[in-house]
Subunit: 213 residues, 2 copies
Amino acid sequence: MNDQKDQKGFTVWFTGLSGSGKSTIAEMLFHEFQARGMKTEILDGDVVRQNLSKGLGFSKEDRDTNIMRIGFVANLLTRNGVAAICCPISPYKETRDANRALIGEFVEVYVHATVEEIAANRDPKGLYKKALAGEIKEFTGVSPDAPYEIPESPELTVDTLVETPEESLQHVLTTLVKLGYLDTDEVMVEGDRVHSGQTDLRVHDTGHVVKEG
Amino acid sequence: MNDQKDQKGFTVWFTGLSGSGKSTIAEMLFHEFQARGMKTEILDGDVVRQNLSKGLGFSKEDRDTNIMRIGFVANLLTRNGVAAICCPISPYKETRDANRALIGEFVEVYVHATVEEIAANRDPKGLYKKALAGEIKEFTGVSPDAPYEIPESPELTVDTLVETPEESLQHVLTTLVKLGYLDTDEVMVEGDRVHSGQTDLRVHDTGHVVKEG
């Protein structure tokens, strides 16, 4: 084990459509950090909705408030030496950039997938199909009033259309080594991992994530 | 300097009426922790209102939501080795106890002062006088619908009617030594301190705090 002393805090910020695979990679990354003896937290999904954002809706203002609250907490963790992992959809560039400016030690990872592929293969509850049929309003990437603004210069883009989660994880680890946040990009955890309890991750029998924040 | 390695996280939770002196003691404690080389954060006042609780009002439900959000963040900090200092009024016993159960390493400090004394001596904006005249609703400790429930078994009670802030600080430090969170209760910071920016603390020319969360 590569126990990192005097750990420098940082935030890995996954952004992408619902269902793109953010929580899957976040969960794997969390276990990699733990295997290195690092302090780490995931801010995602139900945990955030229950504890920080109850009462907020899906208007641009409410989404921005939610994202800035996550960033506020991630900043407190980061400046105290924690590796914070955030995986909100965070569709607006301006709000992501505000958190980058706030946190400083900020690694933005764009998790790419298309609406078409998610709707076809990773949508067991039919949310995308309903949104595409206009039955759900303010659905990111589908509804006209809920755009997803693609990051222009993220530290990393992972493409879950062509990469396995293990490949995406490897790219994240390698990026973190290049940026000086990790000593090694070796994958330390193989096989099943105990669920962190910090994401809404469920693995469907197709192998795809069926729910995420 | 007594630099504490491998710091164990804990939360010091100041509770008491608005104007009782919570932020004053919290600010002094923050500097004592910093002088010991400890990681520390204050969750108080405008910082919390702006970043976690915008949109919440003063109903019991909204107050409880605010207090539980502060507790959620304090818990994340505590379990990552930070000394978190919280100073919301937190008038309801049940909600304080819920945070005690969540956080575990929880030191409740009841900051005692009376409505009469605060209204007479520490109320430059006249908020207590307006509340006592019925002009402000849901004002803790004054309005019938906004009671303050006195802690039954806090780790410490400080009485700002008879103690100076320095004396209250000394009691807090001594309590933290007894509980095993500090190695020494010696006061390390004398004289003026740079404002943390994490409280709404203002010192009035009477020597009293004029505004706090």
